[in-house]
């Protein structure tokens, strides 16, 4: 009887160990990107996978980086050759701009090496207000400060009204030429005491449900 050469045996063992390093779940698109507007409110993202290994794989846990993103799974164990999907539900809330949310998927074949699903979202508001806060320190000169409202498409967004919640912090919409950003001037009556105001900027965009934006004014 001929025994295998020890080095051949070692080669076989190392190759088997190397093969085990690869996850048995193969994911089609573990990173997905979305571009949305605030009115979309939510995203449902499908992350499909296939068990390409030779043994069943059990998904032990799905851990989200944010309470705004929940992960759903139809069942936990997948036989060789079987496919499944993790469904991520992201709720915008009052988020804007770029967001990266992750869900860590831990399986029984790699309990210490979770796979990370990435959900990349850009929530683009066609209207921006800057600065969002106008601030004076008590005793400072009561100099007017200006805020610009910039829109992607000036032809379709107009400021209809501007109103301050505090008569001691007056807000006024300045006249501008067509196509230029709207300018709002905020002027304190004086800065002798701390004051607070929310200035509501009512637009006509979008037509079916026009948005109002808020400028915050404070004397600290």
């Amino acid at each position: 009887m001929r025994f295998p050469h020890p080095l051949r045996l070692l080669l076989l063992l190392l190759l088997l160990a190397g093969g085990h390093l690869h996850a048995q779940l193969k994911w089609d698109a573990p990173t997905q990107s979305f571009h949305r507007v605030p009115d979309d409110k939510e995203i449902w993202a499908h992350y499909t996978f296939h068990n390409t290994g030779t043994t069943p794989v059990t998904i032990k846990s799905l851990r989200s980086s944010c309470g705004c993103t929940t992960a759903h799974l139809e069942k936990k164990t997948y036989a060789p050759g079987e496919s499944g999907e993790v469904l991520l539900h992201f709720i915008f809330g009052d988020r804007k701009g770029y967001h990266r949310k992750t869900v860590s998927v831990t399986t029984d074949d790699k309990p210490t090496e979770p796979l990370v699903l990435n959900l990349l979202i850009t929530i683009h508001d066609p209207v921006t207000i800057a600065p969002a806060l106008v601030l004076w320190k008590t005793g400072q000169p009561a100099t007017p400060q200006t805020v610009q409202l910039t829109v992607d498409d000036p032809a379709h967004v107009h400021v209809k009204s501007v109103a301050s919640s505090n008569p001691r912090l007056l807000a006024k919409l300045e006249p501008t030429k067509p196509g230029e950003p709207s300018v709002i001037t905020v002027t304190p009556a004086d800065t002798t005491q701390k004051e607070s105001a929310e200035i509501s900027v009512q637009t006509d965009y979008p037509v079916d449900s026009p948005h109002a934006y808020t400028i915050h004014a404070r004397i600290k």
């Binding site: 080669l11 809330g93 806060l133 404070r218």
Partner: protein, 138 residues
């Protein structure tokens, strides 16, 4: 003997291939881990004295259940309605420290980043390393 050493070298070279592939995947994962800029520890905050504005970036239900005494709620779920109370409580001379659950939560950094971007007047802004877990010891 020479033949055995040559075979051993070939075996090790072959074993290196899956190890390198696995390592590359690990590096890629780690490069996507969020950075931890602007973090401070509880010990550092204790040295500042009592004057800190705590900002709880967790969900309203977690805040209602328990929060750091004096903390106010500010998260991106309800940003539009919570930013005004935050600005009322904010004092430009007092450090602001934002926290979330701790561990892998990213809400505190998200809130701090948004404050930096939209409210650059809020300059003394930090994130509590370890979050609520570090504070509560749980």
């Amino acid at each position: 003997m020479k033949r055995a050493l040559r075979q051993l070298a070939i075996v090790l070279a072959l074993a290196l291939v899956p190890a390198l592939v696995s390592g590359a995947i690990q590096v890629q994962w780690n490069s996507e881990t969020p950075t931890s800029h602007g973090e401070v520890t509880l010990a550092m905050i204790h040295n500042w004295g009592d004057k800190v504005l705590w900002v709880d970036a967790r969900t309203r239900s977690k805040y209602d259940h328990a929060h750091i005494p004096g903390a106010i709620l500010l998260n991106e779920d309800e940003w539009d309605s919570l930013i005004s109370p935050f600005l009322d409580a904010w004092d430009p001379d007092v450090p602001v420290v934002v926290y979330c659950d701790g561990g892998s939560c990213d809400a505190s950094h998200a809130v701090a980043d948004r404050l930096r971007k939209e409210y650059p007047q809020v300059t003394k802004l930090h994130v509590l390393k370890g979050g609520w877990s570090a504070w509560s010891g749980k």
